[in-house]
Amino acid sequence: MSQRVFVFLVAFVALVTLPYWMTGVYYVNVASQILFYAIFALGLNVLAGYGGLVSLGHAGLFGVTAYATGYMLQLGYGHSISIIAALIIGVVAMAIYAVLSLRSTGIGFIMITLALGEILWGLAYRWISLTGGDNGLSLKTRPEPFGFSLAEANTFYYATLVVFLLSLAAMTIFVRSPLGAALMGTRDQPRRMTALGYHVWAIRFYACMFSGLFTAVSAILFVYYTQFISPQTLALTSSAEVLLMVISGGAGTLLGPIVGSALVVVVKTVVSGFLERWNFLLGAIFVAIVILMPEGLVPGSARLWRMAWRKRARRTSPVPGGAEAKP
């Protein structure tokens, strides 16, 4: 337990001091990307990991919020009003998604979310008067909360870090709560949950709302980071990418989506600078993960760590099987 606290403390200090030891604005920006994609992945993880509901349309929701922010700003509204409106629009879009797609689970759920994501992508592409079509929307400025300008890479990083830590705290509380336990119950035994008195549909709907909120928050950070939004963001590949973050890191764990986000963002941005065929590398990494640790990087590493530790304990223990006898 104390070991875990220590690791978290080290990670926390490393994240807070990152702009001081990380050389170059470029890498600070990469860190910002990792953090807001991690929020996105955490949001999808609520459904794909804890709820057993795999969505392939989350990039559509992400895009709706990003476009809403850009459009509100273009209409001349301030940053705070634009952000709040975009959050509401993002969550309402998720509610519509949920009502339509929660009619089924499994493959049905995947296909309906996929179709909805494609519809939104098509709208972004074709509804030129609203979205600017292929040209996308540009954002001229970043907000200045409490007088801190987020125009610099460092200040934007810290703003993202604060939102990320708040999101992670909220997710931790949710996962340990009765509603979180109920959601995992509906994933494993929906029939039994109904017989025990749970409203399975409503639990899944609330999970969708929570997931939608995380998606919207990360989309706002994204759109302020790039200061640009185009239909590409809503494409199926974006949905697949964030799902791969969740699955590669470990679906249904708190740390998995964060590690997955780091993996995908680093390969996509940093490694792609050295390697033209970075897509190939990313694919190879995923194949390796699926073969070596199908449960994802975080639970898989934990399993290997435990195995190695047990092996060592057995070797040093004088009595055969002594390791098992320990409490």
């Binding site: 709560s177 009765p178 995992m184 494993d188 039994r192 025990l196 609330y206």
Partner: protein, 245 residues
Amino acid sequence: MSALTVTNLCKSFGGLHVTTNVNLNVEPGERRLIIGPNGAGKTTLFNLITGELTPDSGSVELLGQDITNIPSRRRAHLGMARTYQIITLFGRDTIIHNVTLALLGLSPARWNPLIDLKRQGHFVEHAQAALERVGLGHIASRPLAQTSYGERRRVEIAMALTQNPKVLLLDEPFAGLSIDERRDVHQLLLAIPRDVTIVMIEHNMDVALEFAERITLLHFGEVIVEGNRAEVVADPRTREVYLGH
């Protein structure tokens, strides 16, 4: 007032009539056994009573209240609990978490996204007490994956009992158990107080006959024989379709 009344219940899957005009009247505190050959519609009848299936016609009453159109999850709140023939538990979790989920299902706290479930003392205590009752208190924190089949059967029963049901539906609670485990579960069922009405499906005649007061024999979705233990066992139709000669 009866604990459970089923009136003219019918259910077909396409052309297959799995439940045909079934009438059932179970008095409060009664121990009712439902028997019948494979495919007689016993589990379907349970699914109709708990609301997992919707009947084509007929009605189900729980303690005098018509629950035919009440969704399955509400029936749990009205005092109906069941166990499954095929064990249906939360395999990734510990034993005590399984029982806690059963407790939580009837509590308004199940909607709460803010509190830490493991720190809710009353849930932990109640779940522990339910496990003591079925003799699993000493392994409460064991992951379900590391338990035996017989222990899982008892977890099923603990989950049903912890909801304080008025009507308890047991679907083959002795299936797949060893002789020792069967005796344990039998003791457990005998210890359930009389304010709980029990309806049980079971093939295992030596334990089931001893337990039951009244017996209903189903065959091709119809009630063929109903009566007390001696009447049903002595009935020639029982010998013909079920017990054999």
